[in-house]
Symmetry: C2
Subunit: 296 residues, 2 copies
DNA sequence: GTGCACGACTGTCCAGGACAAACACAGCAA
DNA sequence: TTGCTGTGTTTGTCCTGGACAGTCGTGCAC
């Protein structure tokens, strides 16, 4: 439609850089976009769909050389089916999505509010909000949810979480600095970790997303943080995780722990001096371990 | 330091694309970075400072051809001194920054909370939060504030605003959809507009930042929005504002108004069918005008 | 099975050329 | 003076094709 998309649009929509797009074309013959009168690349809707699938699979650990030559069908066969490990969430998901799609979406917000009022923050976060967010992300990735619906969900959820966190009394435990590295713009899991830790009486300082490493070092020093908690989404370039964490570890004082979590850490090798949170509750466990060490 | 920065780092740190950096070097002879053993560009700290000044002045409407050949001193002379139009804010600013710099920064949050509790949301937003945010932005641009301090401020402010907005009863007036276009990631002013409009009983749906145009169209239709409110920061590429707004205007139903505001709209020509909010209270006026039209 | 070396893979960088859209400005008409 | 229009300049983005370093996987020797 619209006669197709220019390369800059594809770069933004897929997260694959222009240079990579051009070199794939040169090396693998895909994508092979049409050209406009001036010789500029014009990608089709089909190109974009296929590229998005490829990117998604790359985020899960596949290598481009294997994926790019594959057709849409072969790609679809590789896709991991959405996790159904949380049956209660899975069955509630469709109802929730229906509420979210209503004009105004107030029903979805009210439903979440009621659920959050009914249970302690920590348990509702691990038991409902985190699996729900993952399910919404999967639905979006599978094309069952529009971008604007996902945006609305994110905004709604981050509002509710921040409200719930601010309603807690200020923490008195160890100070924990939360943020993401440069180019990582997914902050929801950061908020969920903060909710868990604040519920355990930690003192949390959330810098939001996209903080460069030198600034993180300054902030840790400024606030006397005992822990630096970082979140990596699946879309974060994997090759950069190791080096960046190592650089941080070298430059941070030994008295400051580093906790790393999020989907991007799933396929990551263990690194010296870095605690990995594969699941959300791991953060609570790490905090408890800190307290135990201190007492002992 | 660290032997200098590669081009990808400079691109992120200054917001100037690689291609532009290279073409400036070719055309104007600046920046003229050193090269590493492999021939890759290595920019100095001085290059980065000068490029940031240039970018800042470009965001204010200057053209590159005039700026790039200038030295740091000449650039500094061009800089508009920080606005002092709000003397009460200006004098309070230093105290606030001192609070913000304390470990934990709880003093800053408590101060803001007290001020917000003392006054109605609308007046505290226009009278304090907006000028304060602008002052913080200026302080950051002038290098008087670290990135991590600015991040903490943004997170704190957006938390307080969202909390205050959620505390209001749900609106019953016209539905207003708030968001920013793709690549625009500054959402604070969106929250401030939402606060003002919700205080006037509008029904607000905030999609957050970075929503592509087709998705905006879908969302307007879905929620039956009467108004689409967009915010553009000064860093938003100016050349794109006009075409994007025009495209939206053409594709949106005539019954849906478009309001555009933020620092990026300052130097923008008037466009047919687009209401420009130069100041925050303009949004309130536009809402009032809507009500009047309806009644009349 | 374990470790190492080699080779393939992959993204990012380089140079230099081209063009269209935006802009500034001069010249002219009202 | 004001407003418009045409022309030349400015500016960012796109193009091609080449090169290289770091990562990853494979296969061989032990």
């Amino acid at each position: 439609m619209h006669n197709g998309y220019p390369i800059a649009f594809i770069e933004r929509a897929t997260g694959i850089s222009r240079e990579t797009l051009r070199i794939w074309e040169r090396r693998y013959g895909f994508p092979a976009p049409a050209r406009d009168a001036q010789g500029d690349r014009i990608y089709s809707q089909g190109d974009m769909d296929r590229l998005r699938r490829i990117k998604r699979l790359m985020d899960q650990g596949h290598r481009p050389g294997k994926l790019v030559p594959l057709g849409v069908k072969a790609l679809a066969r590789l896709e991991v089916p959405a996790r159904t490990e949380m049956p209660e969430v899975a069955e509630g998901l469709e109802d929730f999505l229906t509420l979210l799609r209503r004009p105004g979406a107030e029903g979805a917000r009210d439903w979440l509010r009621r659920r959050m009022a009914r249970e302690p923050l920590a348990s509702v976060t691990t038991g409902l909000l985190e699996p729900l967010t993952r399910a919404v992300g999967d639905a979006w990735a599978a094309g069952r949810l529009c971008v604007h619906e996902e945006h609305l969900y994110s905004e709604m959820m981050s509002r509710l979480l921040r409200g719930a966190i601010d309603a807690l009394p200020p923490g008195t435990g160890p100070t924990i600095l939360l943020t993401t590295l440069s180019e990582e713009r997914h902050g929801l899991s950061l908020l969920m970790v903060e909710a868990l830790l604040r519920a355990e009486d930690a003192r949390c300082i959330n810098l939001g997303v996209d903080t460069p490493i030198p600034e993180i070092l300054l902030a840790v020093e400024r606030h006397g943080a005992r822990v630096l908690a970082l979140s990596f989404s699946r879309a974060f370039p994997r090759r950069r995780i190791g080096p960046q964490l190592t650089a941080l570890r070298e430059q941070l004082p030994a008295g400051c722990q580093i906790w790393a979590g999020g989907g991007g850490m799933a396929h990551c090798k263990p690194l010296p001096g870095i605690q990995v949170c594969h699941e959300l509750p791991d953060a609570t466990a790490l905090l408890a371990a800190m307290g135990a060490t201190e007492v002992g």
